[in-house]
């Protein structure tokens, strides 16, 4: 899901940077306001975890490979604003140091994996959880569904960004300048691969870590709850 350089044209590149810069600034402010000092090690671990989990490429039938992101569990536990910063750090490092994802596409990749993903995961988790106990099985399921839905959404948005390129940019002879495939190819490709494959992996990773925290230290799961200690 890491869009490389050369696949997105200037309109999409500029638009995504214009969207992301204020989001990064605001997220940093919210993080500064909301972060508790005992959460600092968890914040540091979360970015490192996201970095490493993305290195676990898994194959799916059809010859494609992909990975989980870890964006859902981070959004649920630390809150979506902290997740924006945490996952963005991992994505920027991947692009600059390892050439994984383009540098012009950093904003697009961050929007999909570091914004859309933790926010959608957080709200799906919240809606399904309702007023249930922090340690309830319902919340474990909510976390799994949040992982599944959020990675699928991020993949769909990636497919959308890819697919609009032939509509936006063609050379004089009519050939696409950037991503050559249109929405009718990119949307199904991205959505099906994830909805039938990688999103299940994200769901399992999210639920496993969530269930562990539920048993080990449920006080870590207090983000967004009225009785914050």
């Amino acid at each position: 899901m890491h869009i490389p350089d050369g696949y997105l044209g200037p309109y999409t590149i500029v638009a995504t940077w214009l969207i992301m810069i204020p989001i990064w600034v605001y997220s940093a402010r919210r993080l500064g306001r909301e972060l508790r000092s005992r959460q600092v090690p968890l914040l540091a671990l979360s970015a490192a975890f996201s970095f490493v989990i993305m290195m676990f490429n898994v194959p799916i039938p059809g010859g494609s490979t992909g990975h989980a992101v870890g964006g859902a569990i981070i959004g649920i536990v630390l809150g979506p604003w902290a997740a924006v910063i945490s996952i963005s750090v991992a994505l920027v490092l991947q692009a600059l140091m390892f050439g994984d994802g383009g540098i012009t596409a950093i904003a697009a990749n961050c929007f999909n994996m570091a914004v859309l993903m933790p926010f959608s995961a957080y709200y799906v988790y919240k809606i399904i959880s309702g007023n249930s106990e922090v340690t309830s099985g319902r919340r474990t399921i909510a976390a799994a569904v949040a992982g599944y839905v959020s990675l699928t959404l991020a993949a769909a948005m990636t497919g959308f960004m890819f697919g609009i390129q032939p509509l936006l940019h063609r050379d004089a002879a009519g050939y696409p300048l950037y991503m050559p495939y249109g929405l009718s190819v990119t949307l199904p490709a991205m959505i099906i691969e994830h909805a039938l494959g990688f999103s299940f992996l994200e769901a399992i990773v999210t639920a496993l870590i969530f269930a562990y925290i539920q048993r080990a230290d449920p006080s870590l799961l207090s983000y967004g709850r009225p009785s914050r200690a």
Binding site: G6, Q39, A44, A90, A95, M190
Partner: protein, 106 residues
Amino acid sequence: MDRTTKKMLAALAVLTVLVPLGLLATGETFGEWGAEEVKEKLGYVPHGIESLGSLWSAPIPDYSFPGAETFAESALAYIASAIIGVAICAGLLYIIGKKLTAGRSD
């Protein structure tokens, strides 16, 4: 650092050593093709992919070092990349987090 954080740190260390498992998956990823792969698919390379594809020379491209050819060498390079990634991500956010929460006791 409390017990839960220590355990998670241990789990992260285990994951870091196990990353070469991620190298076993061979195959392409949609939309992450190199210029040659695009040429094979379409018969031509879109101008943007050709001209921007090598815009950035990453110091450790594809989590691998030059000369890493056997699986063992690639695996070691992959683990080293993971260690670098973990150290920078965790270190940077630890420093940011400490600054943001300076003077707080919660």
